[in-house]
Amino acid sequence: MKYLLKYMKDYRKEAILAPLFKMLEALFDLFVPLVMAALIDNGIANRDIPYIFRMCAILILLAVAGLAISITAQWFSAKAATGFAGDIRSRLFEHIQELSFSQMDIFGADTLITRMTADVNQLQNGVNLALRLFLRSPFVVFGSMILAFTVDVRAALIFVVAIPVLSAVVFGIMLWTMPMYRRVQEKLDKIMTGTRENLTGVRVIRAFGQEENEIESFHEKNQDLSRMQQFVGRISGLMNPLTYVIINLATAWLIYAGAVRINAGYLTQGQMVALLNYMSQILVELIKLANLIIQMTRAAACGDRIADILTVEPNMKDGNLTASSMEDSDTVVEFRDVSLTYEGDSGKALDGISFSVKRGQTVGIIGGTGSGKSSLVNLIPRFYDATEGEILVGGHDVRQYQQEQLRSRIGVVLQKAELFKGTIADNLRWGKEDASEEEMQEALSISQAKEYVDKKPGGTSFELEQNGRNLSGGQKQRLTIARALVRKPDILIMDDSASALDFATDAKLRMAVRKASSSLTTFIVSQRAASVQYADMILVMDDGKLVGSGTHDELIRDNKVYQEIYYSQFPKDETGDSGKKDLTQPGAGKQDMADGKEAE
């Protein structure tokens, strides 16, 4: 929380003035009972009507001044709170953009989003409330006591007893119940999980005839929650009645003590009224203060969570080489004994990988789920840094490049097709900011997307919804490929990015990419043997290790893992003849088949 205070710097003036003005307002409030006391003791006792009106004028003056000052304070406080939150949001967003992926993985996207939205909002409210009340409430409580002392020391001693007792009750109950509310929340979460599970797993639950058991278990959890809620409710329900009784006991004591003091001539009737007034102000402010403290603890927790992210130093240092250095060697990509362990993981995701790729080659990477294929290609544009070994691009270690320069020559197509709200052209321009219509059309036709884009109303100016929701899976993938191609990269990485395409389109796409440029080095990650079969080199991954590399013919001869993968997709007895049959007439339904992967 302290760490965040520096973002308050720009609002230092507001942050100091707001509480000060609030205190001033409270001070005026505190004068009111004194004025009223004077009105009773002097005005009424002396039957001095002009005096009474003068006092009334003072009361109104106090009210007007209080209003003006208080509105000023609210303005300062709102300004400081919203400005502070705005700056933090902006800084947070920028900071997140600077983090490396390994750092982002630790937090996870959901967490980062919550930090930037809900947590910052909570913090803003907390700051706003704190600026307004944190000084004001104690000031009123102690101010009342001090002014009571100026009225009559003996009577004021009752305040000295009442305030701690009330505080003990208020804060005691709050501290007692706070952890219980957390447990209530946990129990509520359990119910929520139960409900969600029953909705997502409805087929399985009904197939196994589990409805009755599920109902029983839900009722049990629900009962449990209800019991806990009632228990907490019983305790927190004590607060109001208890404080009420205490404050009235204090009042009763004050009345009796006051009567004695008046009788002895130390106190006037008006002063007695003033003391009673002060007594009644304390309770309200104490409860406000207690609520404030709860809010502040919450806000501080949010603040700490935000600071946790802001204090993470981006752990990737930029080098100084520019993109032109990538042409220094004909060996475009080389891995030298590379290992990668993701932060927080115990096992290695990649283990001792070495290979090298010449300009213009096509490299296929194949292996089961979780074998390390994606991890491997993620190292080339330096999304992650290798834990051991080095990765050379154009003969230089990737860490020697400026990250943006390195990435400007690499076209990456990720497994998950991420598109953004905006037109198709907007999305393509991610690849190249000043791409001409011609360049875009070319990229679209290589990626086999032209056909469907042309059919969209407006062609490349067709508007995509958030995440490209209004395209099918296969369409999205082809568009992300076009986006990578439009910048005419030196290296193209396709990370399982044709999984939603049918085999024929996939093949056409690969052929078109090959034809497009002879100097383009392509990495194709796939689970399909067919997609990598004709690559110049196939890397076979298994459990983070490179278990084989070579051409299809070499691997099919003596690589056990490759054989297993291959024959699981092309059973042995079929391999002989299916290639020979007439394949120029693809079946009508196959496009649907492929796109249906997500749909079904």
Partner: protein, 593 residues
């Protein structure tokens, strides 16, 4: 204009309907409701009585040597008694509300959940999970807080106002009139501000939505942002939205925070006016100093409930809306109950006949028309075809997740509508593409359909499915907890657990709906053994995307547009060189290029 008025009327009628239903839920706790109201009345009366006593007590102490101690002591005792009664009554009232609120929300939640278990699949399939979940969780909560708390608050507020008014009039009618005349000022000010700040809050939440959307996109698409060097651009765009949001936030926060000072100002004015007129009245002998003190504290109390009530009314409306949503769920038409004379055979031979079945999800758009199929016990039937051809729909019908529109499905010669759902589904074992596991232990998951299975039998089945050794390596073996949907396990492991779950029940018929399509082919080959073991001697229906997995089926049905267009073994269909042949080739074509 007329239309909107009409709508409002309907809406109000709807609200009354909802409130009536809510009262029905309250029925069991009626006694608590009445007690709560009675206790609220006692609390308020006692609380209002105390300033009156303190007023008179002030009159007992006119000055030095003039204090009436008997009167003072008498009143002090009265204050203490009144405070204790008020405190006790308030506490009891809290207990009543507590009991009522949480019990009602519990009942309503139970009912809502029970309904979920009985809803037709068609409803669940066509409604987002999040929406239904929020009805059971958030709406139920808000309803309880808002409606019951709001109701008692409203009641307390109203009697406080009425009581204050009566006490004020009892002291001095004219000043009371002045106070009443001044209070609308407070409403006008509060109303003016809240209308303005409401607009700005709405604008703020729109902007927040816009910003959250942007953050979502950019954080989730982080890799793309980096790969394409869009960092600066993205930050720029963000800052632009952020600036707008910050400005609107400032306005909204500021405007709403004016409310308190403004109403406080109005109260101060009322206070001053009461002070001066009261003082004049005292001088003229129409009132005592004590009366004035009491009056002043009433005058400040009088305005407070008004502000609260306006807040409560919005809460109440919101609560009624929430109650409406939960009740809507509770009142949904459940699935057609099992026929009264439905039978529940212990086991099936596995003869399945589909006769002249028509079916549609949307009325008028027939998906399956005149479907016929006859399967002998122990046969393996594969179903293939393009998306939307009705493969999964057929499964929905076989399991009776949906009912046919016309025609009938028979198992061992009995129309499945004449069987209990429970018995029919027990006859089937089902493995789906989505590997759903419930939170609980592995044991609970795999013995889900047959909790009484013996330890030896469980382990034997687990071995057949090749998961026994994997489970044994887990920290707590079969009692290891499965986290939400088993994310700690690989796709293949989860699928094996699902297979074991089915094997444990020993069903006579099997349904495998795209059971391996999310597993890589090499892993698939490894669990294929488990599948094959499972299918021995059982009537099996296999829906597959990957054609290589179904080549040894007894009969392959090729579906298109709700019809079977081809039927036969793999070899027969390949020889025919028709639709199946094309499909099959298209999956292997990539190899030639």
């Amino acid at each position: 204009m007329a239309g909107s008025k009409e709508k409002k009327k309907v809406n109000r009628a709807g609200q009354t309907q909802i409130i009536k239903k809510v009262l029905r839920y309250l029925g069991r706790y009626r006694i608590f409701l009445w007690a709560s109201l009675l206790l609220a009345l006692i609390t308020v009366v006692m609380q209002l009585y105390i300033p009156k006593i303190t007023g008179t007590v002030v009159d007992y102490m006119a000055g030095k040597g003039q204090v009436d101690f008997d009167g003072v002591v008498n009143d002090v005792v009265k204050v203490i008694i009144a405070a204790c009664i008020a405190g006790l009554a308030q506490w009891l009232q809290n207990l009543c509300n507590n009991k009522m609120t949480y019990d009602v929300v519990k009942d309503i939640r139970n009912d809502a959940f029970d309904k979920i278990e009985k809803l037709p699949l068609s409803y669940i399939d066509s409604h987002p999970v999040g929406e239904m979940e929020s009805r059971v969780i958030a709406d139920a909560d808000q309803f309880a807080d808002g409606l019951l708390m709001g109701f008692t608050q409203l009641f307390t507020g109203v009697i406080t106002i009425a009581g204050t008014l009566i006490f004020m009039i009892s002291i001095d009618g004219w000043i009371a009139l002045a106070v009443v005349a001044l209070t609308p000022l407070s409403f006008v000010v509060a109303g003016f501000i809240s209308k303005r700040s409401y607009k700005m809050f709405r604008r703020q939440s729109e902007l927040r939505g816009e910003q959250t959307g942007f953050i979502n996109e950019m954080v989730e698409g982080q890799k793309v942002v980096k790969a394409f060097n869009r960092r600066e651009k993205t930050v720029e765009e963000f800052d632009e939205i952020n600036k707008r949001l910050t400005e609107t936030s400032l306005k909204a926060t500021f405007f709403s925070s004016i409310t308190n000072p403004s109403t406080r100002f109005v109260n101060s004015i009322v206070y001053a006016v009461v002070g001066v007129t009261g003082a004049v009245r005292v001088i003229h002998g129409g009132m005592t100093v004590g009366g004035l003190t009491a009056f002043l504290s009433y005058a400040t109390q009088y305005a407070k409930p008004f502000n609260e009530i306006s807040g409560v009314v919005t809460d109440l409306q919101n609560a009624v809306a929430c109650a409406g949503r939960v009740l809507e769920l509770i009142e949904l038409e459940p699935q057609v109950p099992d026929a009264k004379d439905a039978i529940a055979p212990d086991s099936f031979r596995g003869q399945v006949d589909v006769k002249d079945v028509d079916f549609s999800y949307v009325k008028g758009q027939n998906l399956i028309r005149g479907f016929n199929l006859s399967v002998n016990p122990g046969q393996k039937i594969a179903i293939v075809g393009p998306t939307g051809c009705g493969k999964t729909t057929l499964i929905n019908l076989l399991m009776r997740f949906y009912d046919v529109d016309s025609g009938a499905i028979y198992v061992d010669g009995t129309d499945i509508r004449k069987l209990t759902r429970h018995a029919l589904r027990e006859g089937y074992g089902m493995v789906l593409q989505e590997t759903w596991l419930k939170s609980g232990t592995i044991r609970e998951n795999i013995t889900m359909g047959n909790p009484d299975v013996s330890e030896e039998e469980m382990i034997r089945v687990a071995k057949t499915c090749h998961i026994d050794s994997f489970i044994r390596r887990l920290p707590e073996g079969y009692d290891t907890k499965v986290s939400e949907n088993g994310e700690d396990f690989s796709q293949g492991q989860r699928q094996l657990l699902c297979i074991a779950r089915v094997m444990m029940c020993n069903p006579s018929m099997l349904i495998l709906d795209e059971a391996t399509s999310s597993i890589d082919t090499r892993t698939e080959l490894k669990i294929q053994d488990a599948f094959n073991a499972m299918m021995v001697g059982r009537t099996s229906f296999i829906v597959a995307h990957r054609l290589s997995t179904i080549r040894n089926a007894d009969c392959i049905l090729v579906m298109k547009d709700g019809h079977i267009i081809e039927k036969g073994t793999h070899n027969e269909l390949m020889q025919r060189q028709g639709f199946y042949y094309d499909l099959y080739q298209s999956q292997f074509m990539g190899r030639v290029i």
